[in-house]
């Protein structure tokens, strides 16, 4: 509507000048007429050239940020041409891929001639996850507001938002220690969820459940899966990737992170496990240092969250036939067991029965 209005207004000015020219035959009006014809062309050309030559890029934090950390995100605009633009619309899509939150913004900005500018967004994330910010499109309107030129952009940036930089969780380890012996028993029964490091020939003393029967049949000799040796007191920590409207996943991950940091500081060996809906498998990662912890978080950020508060735990129980005990980080009061800790009232660390 505005475009049509602009065209009409421009035509009115043109017609009025034309009438004045026909009436007065003035050189002055002749010049105006020529300018009125010329300017739209110059305007279109300017918009076209800027659209072709303008480039955009992001300038964001290089490291991961934590929840509630302030960081600046800059969108750089570089215009090589001598033409300024007063009306350009930049479309930006922001997505927290972990939580599935999306947002779309359109920025109406000027593009200055032959210069590089930056639009600064002072941001802060209240949730953890992987922020994917993408420049989708630029639409440049000419000076007269009549014609638009659009161009798709494909620049993007990703910012990882980690849990709070300081998460204070102090679990009651007495509960954990009691459970370890039973975990060992479950291993003896053959349910071992440690990772497979290699496949080798059978050696006397290897567990029967570690035999890789398929490969053995192929090779016509017994082959076994060599698992990473676990210390006898390694804790299995299952993290429920459960989310609700109050974004409890933030606290679950934060609690798991806090406990993991505590375990690392106290040199308590542990593995982090989670149920992957995409792969329909229980996944596990042994954590020996903060890098492993960081990798674990990154891996989790690519997982799909589920709405069943105890899905992971149920899957864990299903797979662990002898009812082995493990530490589950979940919504408070969703799992029965001994509470290791309570985090912010709605997340608990439970050692299952």
């Amino acid at each position: 509507m505005k475009k049509i209005g602009n065209i009409i207004k421009y035509l009115i000015v043109f017609v009025l000048n034309l009438l004045m020219f026909f009436f007065l035959h003035g050189y002055f009006n002749l010049v105006i007429l020529i300018l009125l014809i010329l300017f739209p062309m110059v305007s279109f050309f300017a918009a076209y050239m800027v659209n072709r030559r303008v480039s955009f890029s992001f300038r964001g934090p290089r490291e991961s940020m934590h929840i509630d950390d302030m960081f600046n995100l800059g969108v750089r605009i570089k215009n090589d041409t001598l033409f300024p633009i007063i009306n350009a619309e930049l479309t930006i899509e922001t997505e927290n891929t972990f939580l599935g939150y999306k947002g779309k913004e359109t920025l109406n900005i000027p593009i200055h001639a032959h210069t590089e500018d930056e639009i600064l967004f002072p941001l802060m994330s209240e949730h953890l996850g992987l922020l994917h910010i993408e420049l989708k499109k630029i639409r440049i309107t000419d000076w007269l507001g009549i014609m638009d030129f659009s161009k798709k952009l494909d620049d993007h940036t990703e910012i990882s938002i980690l849990p709070f930089s300081r998460v204070s969780v102090e679990p009651d380890l007495s509960v954990v220690n009691t459970g370890m012996t039973e975990m060992e028993e479950s291993k003896k029964k053959g349910h071992d969820y440690s990772e497979v490091s290699e496949i080798r020939e059978y050696q006397p003393g290897d567990k029967l459940q570690n035999i890789h029967w398929k490969l053995s049949a192929k090779k016509d000799e017994l082959m076994v899966k060599d698992r990473e040796s676990l210390s006898s007191s390694q804790i299995l920590m299952l993290v429920e990737l459960y989310n609700n409207r109050s974004v409890i996943i933030d606290r679950i991950i934060s609690a798991a992170y806090g406990v993991a940091v505590y375990f690392l500081q106290n040199q308590i060996p542990f593995s982090l496990m989670w149920w992957s809906i995409a792969e329909q498998d229980m996944k596990s990662r042994s954590i020996d240092n903060t890098s492993d912890l960081y990798e674990w978080i990154m891996a989790v950020y690519y997982e799909v969250l589920y709405s069943d508060a105890t899905m992971g735990c149920d899957m864990m129980r299903r797979l662990s036939l002898d009812g082995s005990r493990f530490l589950v980080i979940c919504e408070a009061k969703s799992v029965t067991g001994s509470a290791l800790f309570n985090y912010e009232g709605d997340v608990e660390g439970i050692v299952t029965e």
Binding site: K2, N6, K9, Y10, V13, N17, M20, F22, F23, L24, H25, G26, Y27, F28, N29, L30, V31, I34, L35, L38, F39, A46, L82, P84, I85, I86, I92, T94, E95, N96, L99, G100, Y101, K102, G103, K104, E105, T106, L107, N108, I109, P110, H112, A113, D117, I119, L120, F121, P122, L123, M124, S125, E126, H127, G129, L131, T141, W143, L144, V247
Partner: protein, 810 residues
Amino acid sequence: MAFSILPKKEKYEYEPLELCPGVKVISPVSMETFDKKKSIFVKALLLAMIPFSSLAGFLSAFEVNYYVPIVLVIDILAALFFTYIYTLPPWKRDICYVLFFFAFLGSTSIFNVHLNSGFYAVVNIVLERASDYFDTTAMQSYAEAITNRTVTVTVMACYFGVVSVIVLNPFFSAYMSVFIAVIFSVPVYIIPLFFENEPDSLYMIILFSAIFVNIFLNYSGHFKEHKKPEQFEYTERGTGFFGKIFRKLFFKNFDEKTDRSFKFYYDRSWKAIGELMVVALSTVLVTVVGINSVLPKDSFTYRTQDSSIKAQIKDDVSNFLLMGMASLFDAYDSTGGMNAGQLGGVASVYNDYQTDLIATFVPRSYDTVYLKSFIGESYMGDHWEKCEDNFFAPYDKVDGDTKATMDIRYVGADTRYLLAPYYTDMNKIKNLDSGVTYREDGFGINFGDYIRYDFYPINEKGEKMEDVDPKYLEVPDLNKEAVAEFAENAGLSGTPEEIVKQVADYYEENYPYTLRPGSLPRKTLWSKTEEDFVNYFLQKNKKGFCVHFATAATLIFRYMGIPARYVEGYVIPYSAVMDGELLEDKKVSDYYVGENPFGESAVVKAEVNDSMAHAWCEVLIDGKWVVAETTPPSDEEEDYDDIWTLFGRLLNGGNQNDVDDNGATNDAGVTFSMDELSWVWKTVLVIILSVVLFFVFRFSYKKLKRIISYHRRDAAENTVAYYRYICNYMRIAFPEFNKCASHKEQLEFLTGEKESVRIDELSQAVERISYGTGVEKEFSKDIKNKLKLIFREGRGRLSYITRFYLFFKI
């Protein structure tokens, strides 16, 4: 709770926006350092360019010399000032405007002579050009008190620029209106272009650049500051009126977590505006230079060819420049109020005192010389039928021992008519320029022509006739009653000479002379009556100028049996002779033969202007047409239509020619005189009183309306209205009150959570009254009384000043 003396306005706080749920923009998005000063400067420059270039271009078209840099600097300073104050809060802005007004007034009073002269200088220059263009010498000119046009035009241009900036600024600041910018700047060029004068290219470049930038900013919308201080304002899509409907219809599963989107919109960028100006200027410059090189202005011959419309209106424009606004009305010229016998169409006469003719003759007495132009023989109500007889025949054949010659040069008089002195030999009228002698069917006269009239001032040997054409005794039936009444009232009797004198005396006593008698009421859609010219004059209006007196007198004389007819022409009073020029190189004998009562005389060239155009009656006495002058003398002072002179006189405390007690004249210095300014103070007082009364009335009306709202029949409605009033009061007194989301919270706030007040019960009661039906009257009244008590207590905690303020506010 904190209680303030005056209710505090909430401080503006930035509300963080979410790019997506959980990701907040914690402080305003910024792109460039917002520089208010640069922004104001750029906008002011743009604002100054338009009035400067329009006037400078206009003046350059007429090659007027003045100090261009001074005008430019003044315009820019004015634009800076007004652009800046437009960014201030309204009350500060108004104070600045008032202060500026007084400064402007003061400077105008000091420079009023320069201003006036500058304005007239420009007008005279335009008229000079018009004279050349229309090839006429009869254009008016205005007296310039100060002849240094460079200075006066500079002063005028400065004032014009400042006033233009003041007028344009609101339209620029609020709307960046293209229409106003174009209307303000382009039409002024019509005048020089009409006369084939083109403005300088430099000013064209500046003007076009400014207008194009104006167009760009108007179309883009980026010229106003946002109300919030951030550079980017944002709106959420789908929350406007149509957006909500659209969302409801097409996005039924709208998810606030994932489907929200925002639009950021920047207000203005001084850098972008500045760059646009440079681009526009460059483009226009290149274009103008390019056009000039391909088709130079001087070789553009098309501009010297008149368009068909221009050819049609050229004469009208010429008449307008000659005769002013009068040329636009009533479809006939007004020359001193006369136009060849037309009656009633002229409501008022404004003389311009410009020379209509120049008479060269030898004066022979102090008497006024009458020059006949038009003779009316039959009165037709709205005009006199032209007498086709020769001016002085057949009742006279002019002759005598005393013969005179008068050369009349037509400068501005109507060239359709002769101007014959009494008693001209009509067969000897000669056009000195063409050498053609007058025939009975006349000859053409052009402006500037000299016409020679030979006449016999005394005409003692003229042939006298006995028979009178009855038409010179005719009085229409419609007028007989009015004329008879006049004759009776005036007591007319005696000889023709006595009757003429009686009529003149009666006129002088009862019919004042005025140049503004008003026009004759004519039949219109809303007025069915049409007045007769003579009857209206004699019986109703009873005032007029020479045409009225002469027309009525003619009928009166006819009624009294004296042959009479109506005459129009010019008079040359002796004062014009005194102001005239002695022509020592002319021989008296070429202009006068015979006895001269003055004895030794000389040839005089007298200028006759439009104020000397006249109508009179002539009567036939002893077979000779003689002048019967009945028009009373005029007591009217001419109005000054020069407003600057009037204003200057006002502030000068009198006329510039006044002499004080010491004999010193009152120069152009300003001396304020309270007597002269009393009307100003009275006017200001009336305005102030009107404003005060208006606010008092508005205040009273609001109060009354509110009080009535909770004293109606329905008790429940009264309680609801009263509760609404309490809430409005509290919202203004305490901004925190706005955060109360329910009746309960509101009452808690009001009572300060007093334990003695059962908030729950009271809030439920209020809700019941607000939303329920059939509530008992007594119950409603009881709740209202409780609310009154609570409100009184709550209000008591405010300071008296706050309560006083709120009393007027709500």
